[in-house]
């Protein structure tokens, strides 16, 4: 349980948000040209990092906006929050 600082609404309890998993996995623009392996990589394979991870969250019970969070999964500490389309902060 932790607080997330929604870049739009401000700090809220994590129960207002839903997690979207690893960030910066871009949906291929031309899926039909991918091999089964490449498509599986996009669909299922995840870094699942223990430590500082870039991930997506949605303020589903607030402004409904998606944004990115840099969170340490080993202690749930959030390092920073940035909007979709913004450059990720350097670690």
């Amino acid at each position: 349980m932790f607080l997330i600082n929604c870049p739009f609404c401000g700090e809220r309890d994590q129960s207002e948000f839903s997690s979207g998993g690893e960030a910066h996995i871009v949906r291929p623009k031309q899926p039909t040209e991918l091999s089964d392996d490449e498509w599986a990589e996009f669909l299922f394979m995840r870094k699942n990092i223990k430590g500082v991870q870039f991930e997506r969250w949605n303020h589903s019970h607030g402004c409904r906006k998606w944004f990115n969070v840099v969170r340490d999964t080993s202690n749930d500490k959030i390092h920073s929050v940035y909007k979709m389309g913004e450059k990720p902060p350097v670690k």
């Binding site: 739009f8 609404c9 129960s15 607030g62 402004c63």
Partner: protein, 182 residues
Amino acid sequence: MLNTHYPQITDNKLNDVEISLQEPISKINLRGKSKEFFAKVGKVLSLILPNEANTSSFSENFNAIWLSPDEWMVYFKNDDEKVIFNKLYSEISKVNYGSVTDISDQWICINLKGSKIYDILSAGCSFNFDQFLKTDGLSTQTIVNHIDVILHNKNTYNINLFVRRSFSEHLCLWLNDSAKFI
């Protein structure tokens, strides 16, 4: 004639908390980003949409609540409720400046008054009301007793709570129950 039926929300006064149904109230969802969008809204409603998160703006007839960077809810009391909607729809949606959706019956407006209203809400809500209760006009979207709500601080200890219609009876049951324990 068609009759109107509102959820069974009996006005209630308990422990210095007044809970009352505010319907009928017209509500319109506005979405847009362009300059034209803001200009048209301003023209039709004589109102500048709030661009700061968790705030609202108002004019003589209308209240506008910030919902997200490109989404607002406008609510107002109006006898001929569709005139405003039709005007906004034809000036904005029809010409592709943004989206205009009638959500009058999507949300039920309930007014909460009294010095204990935040105690009641806090019994089922993680939102920190410290700032909210001090500043008239602030708004927020959060969860009360597992139900999504939009809260609008009208003035001191007087808020409008918007809840989706299908959830409204259940939420009011809970609010009344909650009031007993404060």
